[in-house]
Amino acid sequence: MKHSVNRRHFLKLSSFTGGGLMLGLVLPEWAKATGSAADCESFKPSAYLCINKDNTVIVYVAKQEIGQGVNTSLPMLVAEELECDLKSIKVEIAPYGSLGQGAHDTGGSQSVMGLFDPMRKAGATARTMLIAAAAKRWNTGVEVCTAEKGKVVNNKTGASLSFGELVCDAAKEEVPKEVLLKNVKDFKVIGKGQKKNNLKDILTGKVQYGIDVKVPGMVYAAVARCPVMGGKLVSVDDSEALKIPGVVKVLRYEGTGAPMHVRAGVAVVATNSWAALRARKALKIVWDESKGKGVNTAQLEKDMAARAKQKPAEAIPVKGNAADTIIAGPNSMVAEYSAPFVAHATLEPVNFTAQVKDGKCELWGGLQLPDWTVGLVAQELQIKSSDIKVNLTLSGGGFGRRLHSDFALEAVKLAKQLDHPVKVIWDRTDDIRFDVFRPANHHRLAAKWDAQGRITHWQHHVLTTSITRVQRPDAKQLSENLGGASQDFWYDIPNVYAGYSNVDFSINRGWVRGVEFVVNVFPLESFVDEVARKLKKDPLQYRLSMLEGRKPFEAKFNDNWKETIDPERMAGVLKLAADKIGWHKPAAKNIYRGIACHCYTTAKAYAAHAVEIEIKGPKQFIIKKIVATIDCGLVIDPDGLKNQMEGGTVFALSQALKSEIHIQDGKVVEDGFFNYGVLRYNEMPAIEVHVVPSEASPGGAGEVGLPTLAPALCNALAAAGNRPRRLPLQKDGYSWS
């Protein structure tokens, strides 16, 4: 097991292991195993599903449900081919390990993309075996039998047998090597609006998340963590804490470095969460915080701005010869943009439950990359991965927070000192202060154009506090990928060059929803707009002139990773957004519009935002309306897709307007929702989501709704005469309502 990982590699891996290969390997094993079962209660043709005698169908979903809707969309794929009512399906989290390495990895908006074929094949395989079993019973050929609504029907006699009545026989059938999948035009479930699978449980309070885990004998812990990364415990006086009713004991542990940077901690263990949280306040701790001295975001901003003007540390020539061109002079412009560290702040604060007993370990909680976590826990405990049992749960939001394992390692460090399972509960302050932040970033862009105003040279210097550096300090190459800014840059410009520089900074950081695309699309789509406005061209037409008529092209990132980008699909989402915001209609007084588009290359999806604002004062505005458009290929769950686009927009709007993490002397300043800004109900603008119909193979959506919101909003502000170049807008005195 690798203990440090390139995210892209992971995502490639997960979509691969979710592929057809799995079915070939796993299916026959399962089928035989259940075929010989004496009880004849169920039929389990693969690790993806099980049909019971009572006609219920259990679909096992390996991807983690974190709000993105996999527990709704993936079972739909099975139902479509199995020919059963979606209501007869019960969704269960696939037991960890049942589907092999990488199967549970959840990220990069890859779930539907990776499982579109496997889940449908699983349904079709089961259906084929059920039909074969029924045909034998009726002593007829399979061609006269069809499956519909949970039954196999004999089309000659009109007789029918429910799936439940066939489980015993079907389990004895040969597993077909190949199955026929439906044509798109025959889809009955895919593409039809569905309610969320666990809607009723949510509305009756029955749904259980990681924080709701309760195991026999469990104790609760709240941890006081060293406020600076790499700091140490000097002393602790726990005498007052131990007096608080319910407190069991106080534990200490040392911090660890890369990849997870678990802080040194003092933990209060108690019989309930409240006692633990309360007693933690009574600890008197002295930390060695010297490592944090001088670690300030105010300084980082200056360092990044200075570094931006020098040569990039890593050069990524895209095409032509922009690398050596010094962009200056009349037909050119240069601009810099920046954005701060931001937190995940999932509404369910981080928590995790662990037990270590007799050389074995059991874990409970939400994990987006459980294989990685298991590897790290095995290393921490010096045990075999196979001695670790993982119980995955639903999560109250993920946004990438649960791709990381710091919280799990921390729980394990406590569990190994206890005889009981322990649930570590993070309060909101912990959740924000000890998050794994989206890197602060800075960009310098330059462009040069010809007499007709066509851009001939384009340069983009991306600077971040590298994620790779914090996870693998000795890594040589830090520019994992530049999401939109390098080979996958969508505009037709003959000379393009991208460069990357890391600026070291001592705070933990990691992947936050939208990752590099959110980071790069804001400057990129702001800058192209700036050029258009400088040339007095319509920003929509200017973009379209660099997209329309351009043939699909291949972005080759390395020898085994390439993606195809279709500029016409990009133009499609852009034009739709423009139409729906009324781009071509004259705007009333003080009304301004902005637009932006992007291709979320790795999710095979195109999206745009158009924003209409009303200016109320020099830096005061009202967002009148937001339009979000997407083309992510064939749509599985249209309402779920819209919900993702609405949610992505809101998440991005928080970041555009007010989310920012400040660090002073290595310590995070923000400590809750009072000072870490997230969007609230009264700030929610009117929003419309429009989907471009497509039969292209399905892409992802969970992250696709974020990147273009900030540039579209800033482009609207620029149209009003005031170009913002750094986020969040609050930082530069903007206010909104």
């Binding site: 509305l203 924080i211 997230v678």
Partner: protein, 155 residues
């Protein structure tokens, strides 16, 4: 430790706990009623909203002692069959994403409509701005509130 009698969802429970233990943790850790969620513990997110004598309160900032003699309703007590108009509206609009904030959202609206069957836009904003949804389902919540208001007025 002091004993407390709590009337929750029309059932009486006797709980031994410190007087100042927040109702939230009594529900979650002592009574194992986990439908009420923890999001901040300091009345800044609304995830823990329950009804105390039909008024929406933050259970993280409500001590067990102050619940004496009161009627407490949690999300579990609304209606198992989704008969409550707010649940129905939420179902109709298919509001949730991760679902974690939704108990707090639903209970806040239920409390608001108990007091005022025709809340103004300003009232709705004042009440609902206290309840965070990080998944960003606000537009759906807005639509669902309109439906719930209609249902309450024309049952």
């Amino acid at each position: 430790m002091p004993k407390h009698q709590l009337n929750i969802n029309e059932q009486v429970f006797t709980v031994e706990a410190e007087d100042d233990m927040p109702l939230l943790w009594v529900l979650r850790d002592v009574l194992n009623m986990t439908g009420t969620k923890y999001g901040c513990g300091v009345a800044s997110c609304g995830a823990c909203t329950v009804l105390l004598n039909e008024t929406a309160v933050r259970s993280c900032a409500t001590t067990i002692k102050s619940c004496a003699g009161a009627k407490i309703t949690t999300i579990e007590g609304l209606s198992d069959a989704l008969l409550h108009p707010v649940q129905q509206a939420w179902e109709e609009v298919n509001v949730p994403q991760c679902g974690y904030c939704q108990a707090g959202q639903v209970m806040s609206v239920a409390g608001m409509l108990k007091r005022n069957k025709q809340p103004s836009k300003e009232t709705i904003e004042a009440v609902m701005s206290q309840v965070i949804c990080r998944c960003g389902t606000y537009d759906r919540i807005r639509r669902a509130i309109d439906i719930a208001v209609a249902k309450v007025n024309n049952p």
